[in-house]
């Protein structure tokens, strides 16, 4: 190689997930920071028993509404429970609902959106109109109505939130599938007689993985936030399970005596959802080619640096091996 060249797109196809993580840390430091915070919170949620300084429901009658101190890191609530302990156990509830709800959400979205987008025609028409109708209702109105009918409980919250967002997100999946259906390899697969199942699982699924990952991440945040809102309004997670939304609701009556009761759960909630959204945003930027920077970028000089030993400032792009041969033939 006598001419120095920048090798673009020459990396070998590595493991998809590992590759994604590597790129996240290299290209999107904010997203990576979000991922790390999220990981820490998930670990805290899993090992809540070991991290929390007090048992979850322990009541210190002498120390109700105690300000933050060395004994009670974030103070105590109106019953004399340690706020730090409650917030840690609250993380467990939030993360559990967020992840489980999102799994249901994605599953429902995949089935509804998949059937609608893949088969098209009348069935698509019907499903789309149902989703149209569904989306006419403000999320909170319909969630509250449904929650009021079931007995409140963590399981109910998971199912209701998962179903609700699943129906809404079906549209995203459908849109992605519609665009993939148009690509030539789908026609090729059809022409060699690949079955529907094969086409769905071997050709479509791997190609909608990117939007699913983004959808999954963002949806965890949405569901955690919705759960907190429902709990704040009194229709979410029932006590004695600690939930950040419910803690903020309880704090309103005592907030002048102990503002920490409302501030800290809110901070915890905001931090979790913020880090999830940062991660989702980073992943979206990496996975969605339309948003990626690059040679088409507006208002930016494309490449203007000279590498040591390079004469001109123009970069040549080295073709991968298999393409070089083709060039010769042409």
């Amino acid at each position: 190689m006598n001419q120095p060249s920048i090798i673009v797109d020459s990396k070998k196809p590595g493991h998809f997930v590992l590759d994604l993580i590597k790129r996240l840390f290299k290209e999107k430091p904010m997203g990576a920071a979000g991922a790390i915070i999220l990981l820490i919170i998930i670990l805290v949620a899993i090992f809540a028993n070991f991290i929390a300084p007090y048992p979850m429901t322990e009541i210190h009658l002498g120390d109700t509404v105690h300000p933050p101190s060395a004994k009670y890191l974030l103070g105590t609530d109106y019953l004399g429970r340690d706020l730090f302990t409650l917030i840690i156990y609250g993380a467990r509830v939030s993360i559990l609902i967020g992840l489980a709800g999102t799994c249901i959400n994605i599953l429902v979205a995949l089935i509804l959106g998949g059937v609608s987008g893949y088969f098209g025609g009348k069935i698509d028409m019907v499903i789309q109109r149902v989703i149209d109708a569904w989306m006419c209702f403000p999320p909170l109105f319909i969630l509250l109505t449904i929650m009021a009918m079931f007995k409140s409980g963590i399981f109910q919250v998971i199912v209701v939130l998962g179903l609700f967002y699943g129906i809404t997100n079906a549209r995203v999946i459908r849109g992605t599938i519609l665009s993939i259906k148009e690509i030539t390899y789908m026609k090729a697969a059809e022409s060699i007689g690949a079955t529907h199942i094969r086409r769905m699982f071997n050709h479509i699924l791997p190609n909608i993985l990117a939007p699913i990952i983004v959808l999954f991440t963002i949806s965890v945040g949405q569901i955690i936030l919705s759960e907190a809102t429902l709990s704040f309004l009194g229709f979410g997670v029932p006590p004695p399970n600690p939930s950040w939304g419910q803690m903020i609701n309880n704090s309103t009556r005592y907030i002048t005596q102990g503002p920490w009761m409302g501030i800290f759960p809110g901070l915890a909630l905001s931090m979790v959802v913020f880090s999830i959204n940062m991660l989702g945003d980073g992943l979206r930027d990496i996975l969605d080619p339309r948003l990626r920077g690059g040679s088409g970028r507006y208002g930016k000089i494309i490449i203007n640096k000279r590498l040591p030993g390079q004469k001109s400032s123009t970069f040549t792009r080295e073709l991968p091996e298999h393409m070089k041969d083709k060039d010769k033939h042409i």
Binding site: R129, A133, P138, L144, M149, G262, F274, G299
Partner: protein
């Protein structure tokens, strides 16, 4: 255009039918007996009263007859049924509260767009600059911050620190416009904050997409100044899709009213939802859901039509 309008209208009617089905079945397909659910908190309910409620809800006939009765009453007489508690037509109760929720939502929309548009455009034309990063982080923060938490803090913390609380007794706009606006300014800003986060990102994405198109390159190649390229060429096409946000977010804006009306003590529809849920007054709830859904349907239809008017490509798809 006429063909497009007719098609959209037919779809809207189909959706309207489905909306009515969802509203109707939402309180009838629940596991267990809705009447038992309604009376579960009441202590002195005789079987006779229970039967009365059942008859009033029309639950004593097969479900398809129930639906046809309900829908025909609704269409031909505008009769949404009676409240189980006040025994007054539910529609009166709902209509009297709609203006408050609409005022909140519209002010929220204005705040949201005013904040989001300039920032979104800036973020797009200075992609990956420091400013872009900061604004995008702020956008995510706005989407993240739970409005119920911020609302609670806004009410309580200033009262502790400066002995000041936002006005919390509702004054009608017609009675005292200035007092009324003073009361709405904080909740609508909070509502607009969430919206602006979403809109900011949408505006940025759309502008970025437009900025990469050939005709923008041509405009640059002609030697036009950046200001002209952006304002005369890019903005027009970049902002059309943003209109759809108004449609998409209408549901979120109206839904957000539940939390903010509760915190800021505004007697709107959202607050009514919470009140009726607590006393399980399901006819009122059905009425609210139906009225709001119809409004959102109309808004979306309007947005669709406006969109196709502004962007003729849509019509011929």
């Amino acid at each position: 255009m006429t063909a497009f309008l007719i098609k959209r209208l037919l779809i809207a009617i189909a959706v309207l039918f489905l909306v009515s089905l969802i509203v109707f079945f939402s309180i009838r397909l629940i596991p267990g007996d809705v009447v038992k659910l309604i009376v579960q908190d009441a202590q002195y309910i005789t079987p006779l009263q229970e039967a009365q409620i059942r008859a009033q809800l029309g639950l004593d006939v097969p479900i398809y007859i129930q639906y046809s009765r309900w829908i025909s009453k609704l269409i031909f007489h505008g009769d949404f049924g009676m409240s189980l508690y006040t025994n007054r037509p539910v529609i009166e109760q709902v209509i009297s509260r709609l203006p408050i929720t609409f005022e909140l939502s519209i002010l929220g929309l204005i705040v949201g767009l005013l904040v989001a548009m300039p920032i979104g455009i800036y973020s797009a034309i200075r992609q990956d600059s420091i400013g872009d990063y900061i604004f995008r982080s702020i956008a995510i923060l706005f989407i993240t911050l739970p409005s119920f938490w911020i609302g609670t803090m806004v009410i309580t913390l200033p009262s502790m620190w400066w002995h000041w609380t936002p006005p919390l007794t509702y004054v009608a706009f017609t009675a005292n416009p200035i007092e009324n606006l003073k009361q709405f300014i904080i909740p609508s800003t909070l509502l607009g904050m969430f919206l602006s986060g979403v809109t900011m990102r949408m505006t940025r994405t759309m502008m970025l997409e437009v900025l990469r198109q050939d005709y923008i390159r041509t405009a640059w190649a002609k030697g036009l100044k950046e200001r002209v390229v952006i304002s005369r060429h890019a903005l027009k096409n970049g902002l059309i899709p943003v209109i759809t946000i108004v449609g998409n977010q209408a549901a979120l804006l109206l839904g957000g009213s539940v939390v903010l009306e509760k915190i800021f003590n505004l007697p709107g529809v959202g607050y009514l939802v919470l009140q009726t849920l607590n006393i399980r007054d399901f006819p009122v709830l059905s009425c609210i859901n139906l009225v709001i859904a119809v409004f959102i349907l109309i808004i979306n239809l309007g947005v669709d039509v406006a969109y196709s008017y502004l962007d003729p490509r849509i019509r011929f798809k």
